[in-house]
Amino acid sequence: MLKHLDEYRDKRLAENLVRSIESTLTRPWTIMEICGGQTHSIMRYNLQELLPNEISLIHGPGCPVCVTPIELIDQAVELGRQTDVILVSFGDMLRVPGSKEDLLSVKAQGGEVKMVYAPLDALEIAEKNPEKEVVFFGVGFETTAPAVALAVKQAQIRGLENFSVLVSHVLVPPAIKALLEDKQNRIDGFLAAGHVCTIMGTAEYISLAESYQIPIVVTGFEPVDILLGIQKCIILLEQNHPGVENAYPRSVKPEGNPAAKKILKEVFTPVDRRWRGIGTIPQSGLKLTAAYQKFDASARFRLQHTTAEEPELCLAGEILTGRKKPPDCPAFGNQCKPDNPLGAPMVSSEGACAAYYRYQKTDRS
C-alpha cells in the first residue's frame, strides 16, 4: 500500500504535471475542489505554491462535519446527556460546537460518548450494553453512508432493539447544483470527490456537466492525483469542452460500486436537508426508508426540531461555498482557532479554515 502511495507523492511526477499545466494555460481559471479531504491535501502539500498564479483554487462544501446543521449537533448533545444512552460517532464529530457545547464537553460531564472508526463497531457496543440505548450519529457523504446502511441492516437482522441512528448524511450532486444555481458563483470547473464517485459512479456528474456546461473532473486525494485533476480540468476549460473526465480511474468505475449503491437505496431515501452555513438544499440529505424507520433516533427519542443561532462573526457559509477564503474572515486566527472554533470549518481536519490555520503562512500574531 505504501509504495503505491509514494507514487502519488512523487516530486518528479508533480513537477511534470505543473509544467504541463503551465504550458496549457492561456488565462486565469477558478477551480473548486468539492471534497474536504482534497482541501486538506492541497494545504498539506501547499499545492498553490507550485501552481501558476492564474489558477485559483477555491474550497467547496465537502466537509461532512462542517455542514452538519447545528440543530442536529444540539440533538446529539441532548442524547449524549441522557443517562440511558451511549452516543457513538466518528472522532471529528465530537469536537464540533453545537449552539451551547460540543460532545466532548458532554463526555467530560459524565455523558457516555464514544468514538469509533466504523459504524459496525456501534453495533458491538449495543450488543455489549443491552441495558443502554446506543445511538450512532451518522455523518458523511455517499462514502460513509453505505457503511451506516450496512450497520442498520445488520441491526435489523440481529434483532437489536437498542440501536438507532441520528442520520445526518448528505449528498454531493445536489450541493454542486445549488452552488451553480447561485448566480454569484465564480467557479469555472470542479474537481469531484473521488471516493464519493467510487461508490456512486459518474452518471450524476455527466448530467450536471451537461446541464450547466461546466467541466467536472473526478479526482483523487494525493498531491499527484490532485495535480492530475487540475491538469485535466484546465485542458477541458482551455478547449471549451465541458464534460466529465475521470482522473482517478484506479478507484472509480463509471458504474460505481453496485453493492454499496443497492444497500444505500434499500436503507436510505433522499430528503431536503439543511446544510450548516449554507441553508436548505432540496433532496440533498438522506433519511431512513419506511422499512428501517424504527432505527431512526430522532423519532425514537422524540427529538425537538429546534432552530439555533450561529455565532454572528462566523463566515462559514461563504467559506463553504467558496465565496470567501478563510483568511478573509476577520475572526480567522484570532477569535476563531482550532482550540476555540466559532464554526465547524475550523474544527474538522477536512474543514477549510482548520487546514489553512494548520498549514498556511498567515500572519497570526
Binding site: M43, Y45, N46, E49, Y117, P223, D339
Partner: protein, 351 residues
C-alpha cells in the same frame, strides 16, 4: 535481590493470601507492609530504600541538580514493546537526560485501583526494577495508595527523578541557533501507534512495538565527547512536531524539516494512513532530538550510531533565522508548509 527475569515471574506474595489489591494494601497496615517487604524491597534493593525513614536521606552531590516529575496513566498498561512500569522509568530517565543530567535517583508512587491483580502488579514491579537497573538509576523512595474500584483505572504511577548536570554542559531550548542541524535517533511515532492499535484492536501485517527506551547511556557519551550541544529534547506526547514547535518559540528561530528525511516505519506509516493521523504528532518514548552546530553533526551522528538506541540516527532538518517561531517542512513534492502545534488531544492516555 536484583530481579532476574528468568526466575522472577512468580509473585512473591502467597496466592492463598489475596489475588487482588485490597483497599487495605494502601492502608498503612499489615498488607501495606507485606507489599513493601515482599515485593518492593527485594526488587528495588538499595541502601537508601532500606533506611526505613519517612523519606530517603541522600549523600551530597557536587554540581547542579536536575529534577523532574511525571505521571503515567497509559491505557493499556501492557502493550507491544513494554508496559507502564518500564515507561515510567525510561520516561523519567529521559527527561533528566534531556536536561544534560546523569540520572541518579527516582521516586515511585503507585495509585492502584481496588481489585487490581497482584500478579499484574508483580509484573510491573519487576519491569520497573529491570529498567531501573539497566538505566543505572536507584529507586530511593515510594508510596502506595489504593482507591475504590471504579475510582481509578487499574494502576497509575507517579515518579520524580533527580540527576546531576554534567560539568560544562549548558543545554536549553533557548540555545537553538541559526545554522544548527536537527538530529533524531530513529523512527518516529512507534509508541503512539503501538498503543493506539492495541487499544483499538487494529491488526497490521507486523506488530508495531513501542520504542520505550532509556537514552541516558548514549546521550551521556555524546555529552562527554561533545559538550557544545545546544538543545536536547525527547519528543513524547505531541510528537516531533510539538517538541520542535516549542523549541522554535523558546529560541525565536525557525526550523525547517525535510519530509523525505523523516524516518518512519512502514507499519506506522500504514497505520497513520488508515487512522488519519500525522506521524509528526504521534508520541515517542525512546527518541531524542539533538540540535547542535552543523559542523559538529557528523561526529555526534557517529557517536550515536554506535549505540543500538541510535543506530538509525540522522539529520532531519536545520535551523534558520528567516521565520522565527515557526516550524516549516519541505514536503515530498518540493513545496513548503507550516507544521503547526497540535490543537486538542490527538490520542489520549498515551503515556
Amino acid at each position: 535481590m536484583n530481579p532476574d527475569p528468568k526466575q522472577g515471574l512468580q509473585c512473591p506474595i502467597p496466592k492463598s493470601d489475596y489475588k487482588n489489591v485490597l483497599l487495605a494494601h494502601g492502608g498503612g497496615g499489615k498488607l501495606t507492609k507485606q507489599l513493601i517487604d515482599q515485593m518492593f524491597y527485594p526488587c528495588f534493593e538499595n541502601v537508601f530504600l532500606r533506611q526505613g525513614h519517612d523519606g530517603s536521606i541522600l549523600p551530597p552531590i557536587e554540581g547542579k541538580l536536575a529534577m523532574t516529575t511525571d505521571s503515567f496513566v497509559v491505557d493499556p498498561i501492557f502493550f507491544p514493546g513494554g508496559d507502564i512500569g518500564e515507561l515510567a522509568v525510561n520516561g523519567t530517565v529521559n527527561d533528566l537526560t534531556c536536561c544534560g543530567a546523569e540520572a541518579l535517583y527516582i521516586s515511585l508512587a503507585f495509585i492502584l485501583e481496588e481489585g487490581f491483580p497482584l500478579d499484574d502488579l508483580w509484573k510491573i514491579v519487576q519491569s520497573i526494577a529491570l529498567s531501573a537497573n539497566r538505566a543505572g538509576i536507584k529507586i530511593v523512595t515510594g508510596d502506595t495508595k489504593v482507591v475504590e474500584k471504579g475510582k481509578g483505572d487499574k494502576i497509575y504511577i507517579n515518579t520524580t527523578g533527580i540527576g546531576r548536570i554534567l560539568p560544562g554542559l549548558d543545554i536549553a531550548p533557548q540555545h537553538c541557533r541559526e545554522g544548527d542541524a536537527v538530529i533524531i535517533n530513529g523512527t518516529i511515532g512507534d509508541h503512539g501507534i503501538a498503543i493506539m492499535t492495541e487499544r483499538e484492536g487494529l491488526t497490521f501485517e507486523s506488530t508495531i512495538k513501542s520504542d520505550t527506551l532509556a537514552l541516558n547511556t548514549m546521550m551521556l557519551e555524546v555529552f562527554r565527547k561533545k559538550p557544545g550541544i545546544h538543545v536536547v529534547r525527547d519528543p513524547t506526547r505531541g510528537g516531533v512536531a510539538s517538541a520542535l514547535n516549542e523549541i522554535c518559540l523558546s529560541s525565536d528561530t525557525g526550523i525547517r524539516l525535510v519530509e523525505e528525511k523523516l524516518p518512519i516505519n512502514d507499519g506506522v506509516r500504514g497505520a497513520c494512513e488508515v487512522m488519519g493521523l500525522d506521524p509528526l504528532y504521534v508520541a515517542n518514548e525512546g527518541k531524542v532530538l539533538v540540535i547542535l552546530p552543523e559542523n559538529e553533526a557528523d561526529e555526534v551522528l557517529s557517536i550515536m550510531r554506535a549505540f543500538d538506541a541510535g543506530s538509525q540516527s540522522r539529520i532531519i532538518g536545520s535551523v534558520n533565522g528567516k521565520h522565527p517561531g515557526i516550524l516549516h517542512m519541505q514536503t515530498t513534492i518540493g513545496s513548503t508548509r507550516i507544521v503547526d502545534m497540535i490543537s486538542g488531544e490527538q490520542l489520549p492516555r498515551i503515556c
